[in-house]
């Protein structure tokens, strides 16, 4: 049998939580070679290779079929893989790394509460300023999908690769789509979440390529992890 490639986040809180979870489930993740190696093995389950990748690489590699399963954020997975694409899906939601992807606008927009307001404002903004409202985000696909669902058009995405919440204050965008846990960062930047602006309630997930869903090794991992995840 071909070895199964399972990808684990290579750094940060996601890595720590993932390792802890596997240990509780009775597996040990061993790094091969030096401490900083990018390959490993899952002690306790034969024929599984572990790849250490960044969470966003895990989502991208699942899409490209380069890995068979991986732990990543649901936000990154949904951004990389459209819902109607069957290539990979969530096998198990893991109860760590909770975060919401939300639409947030300046607090001073007292006249804007819901997405429908945003559509109206977008139209007027174009008439008054001769340009489109700009949405700063790293979630291009999630934003396009959600805005289309809500019937909001007439905006432009400005790709933002960090400190997205500062974009409105810096004047590089009017509003943002970003991830938030407590909302404190948004508040500190005088931004508010729209009433119906919750795009995704994300947490860490175990995602599996479609053609490996029934693989006995995957079934075993899912079964033992689901006992730990409450």
């Amino acid at each position: 049998m071909k070895p199964l490639t399972l990808a684990i986040p290579s750094k940060g809180r996601l890595m720590e939580s993932a390792q802890e979870l596997f240990e509780k489930a009775g597996y040990k993740i061993e790094r091969l070679g030096t401490d900083r190696g990018y390959r490993g093995a899952l002690v306790g389950l034969d024929n599984v290779e572990v790849a250490f990748l960044s969470a966003s690489e895990i989502a991208a590699n699942l899409k490209d079929g380069k890995i068979d399963a991986g732990i990543t954020g649901e936000d990154l997975l949904r951004e990389a893989i459209a819902p109607d694409n069957q290539i990979a899906d969530v096998a198990l939601r893991l109860n760590f790394g909770p975060a919401n992807v939300v639409v947030a606008v300046p607090e001073c927009w007292l006249d804007v509460a819901v997405m429908a307001d945003l559509d109206d404002v977008a139209e007027q903004f174009y008439q008054t300023h001769g340009r489109r409202l700009r949405v700063a985000t790293k979630y291009l696909a999630l934003t396009r999908r959600f805005f289309a669902e809500k019937g909001v058009t007439g905006y432009r995405i400005v790709e933002s690769l960090g400190a997205t919440e500062g974009a409105p204050a810096a004047g590089t965008a009017e509003l943002i789509v970003d991830i938030t846990t407590s909302g404190a960062t948004l508040l500190a930047n005088a931004l508010k979440i729209l009433d119906d602006g919750l795009i995704l309630q994300s947490c860490a997930v175990l995602a599996v390529a479609q053609h490996h869903k029934t693989d006995p090794r995957i079934v075993q991992i899912v079964t033992s992890l689901s006992r730990i995840v409450v």
Partner: protein, 375 residues
């Protein structure tokens, strides 16, 4: 398939030569607008849905450029940079590639578009002429059994202008015309009076008595202004929301009139009677008269409008058109395929920088789809 074989290339060239011969014989000058265009000009006009399908890239100086997703805007830019007087009559035709990330069947990411743009002196008879030329060109290329669907956004605008309601409601209905579901919801909201549902800004609207409420609220809550909208813009929308609370609901008759209009569908020659039955108000009657007049011009041009379908809904996906619109379909093994479309867009040239409003009509043929149908 990575590219066209010699036989495919020759077939496409033969087909397109037949199309362009019809256009040029009719007095349209063939131009070659730039393939690489400034990205802003498209993206600011179309919004994120087109942007997601446009090939955008940066030049070394960081300026955003794109491969043209369509040839109408490039033809308009050609006109604005070449014509001494942008309002004077000009007739152009073109044939060349356009580029879009694919999103549906039969839509390759690079395809050749053949089209016409007619600027300046374009009245109703010119609309008939453009449709006639599009059909003649398709027939010259060998297409048969064409299905023509007509729409007219001018009728809807006129009807809405005649119905008494706050301007802000009219503006929002016009804006949502393109999205049937959102339009229905909005109409239902207006008919029910203002929405009773409380939102996070309801307390602010409760406090709202005059424009100063905005400033007071911002000061009291220590909220700084950011996000590029002015205080006046925010205040005026709050004032509208406040006014909506005491606004009489849209009465059932008016709502019914709008819905009845949008339900009209049928053979184009049956439509004038259906249109007249909807309303007899002023602007709308004028628009109905020009619709009937257009049918006469169709006959004069040698077209048979009895075979054209009219649908009041039609045009919903084509945002820059302002009046008459049409789409031509042909039958393929996979069912009907839209192979050409066009219409009137009187505001695009002034929007792109012309000193005044310049009437304009045009049409475009998707030549690869046509070739697929003919193959």
């Amino acid at each position: 398939m990575a590219g066209k074989s010699p036989a495919e290339r020759q077939a496409l060239e033969r087909q397109n030569a037949a199309i362009m011969a019809v256009f040029e014989r009719a007095g349209f000058d063939q131009i070659a607008p730039d393939i690489i265009q400034p990205a802003d000009i498209f993206l600011e006009r179309s919004g994120e849905d087109i942007r997601a399908r446009t090939f955008v890239f940066n030049d070394p100086a960081g300026q955003e450029l794109c491969l043209r997703p369509d040839l109408t805007v490039p033809a308009c830019r050609y006109h604005l940079s070449h014509a001494e007087n942008s309002a004077a009559e000009a007739k152009y035709c073109y044939l060349g590639p356009a580029f879009r990330f694919p999103d549906e069947k039969l839509s390759p990411q690079e395809f050749n578009q053949a089209g016409l743009e007619w600027f300046g002196a374009v009245d109703i008879s010119a609309e008939a002429r453009i449709l006639k030329l599009a059909i003649s060109a398709l027939e010259a290329a060998g297409a048969t059994g064409l299905k023509v669907t007509l729409g007219d956004i001018g009728l809807f605008t006129a009807l809405l202008n005649d119905i008494e309601m706050p301007d802000r409601w009219r503006r929002r209905l016009r804006h949502q015309f393109w999205r049937p579901q959102a339009f229905q919801n909005l109409l239902a909201t207006f008919a029910a009076g203002h929405s009773q549902k409380r939102t996070s800004i309801s307390p602010i609207i409760d406090e709202f008595k005059n424009g100063d409420a905005t400033t007071t609220w911002l000061d009291q809550n220590n909220i700084a202004l950011q996000g590029n909208r002015t205080l006046a813009e925010i205040s005026s929308r709050l004032a509208e929301k406040f006014a909506d609370r005491s606004q009489k609901p849209l009465d059932g008759m008016k709502r019914q009139t709008i819905e009845n209009y949008l339900n009209i569908e049928g053979a184009a020659t049956d439509v004038p009677l259906l249109l007249e039955a909807i309303s007899t108000t002023q602007q709308y009657s004028v628009a109905c008269a020009s619709f009937a007049k257009r049918l006469e011009f169709f006959e004069d041009a040698g077209l048979n409008p009895r075979r054209f379908k009219f649908s009041a809904n039609f045009g919903r996906e084509l945002e820059y058109y302002t009046g008459f619109v049409f789409q031509i379909e042909a039958n393929s093994a996979h069912g009907p395929v839209a192979i050409a479309g066009g219409g009137r867009y009187d505001e695009l040239l002034s929007d792109l920088g012309a000193a005044q409003k310049v009437p304009a009509i045009g049409c475009a043929i998707h030549t690869e789809r046509l070739a697929a149908v003919l193959a």
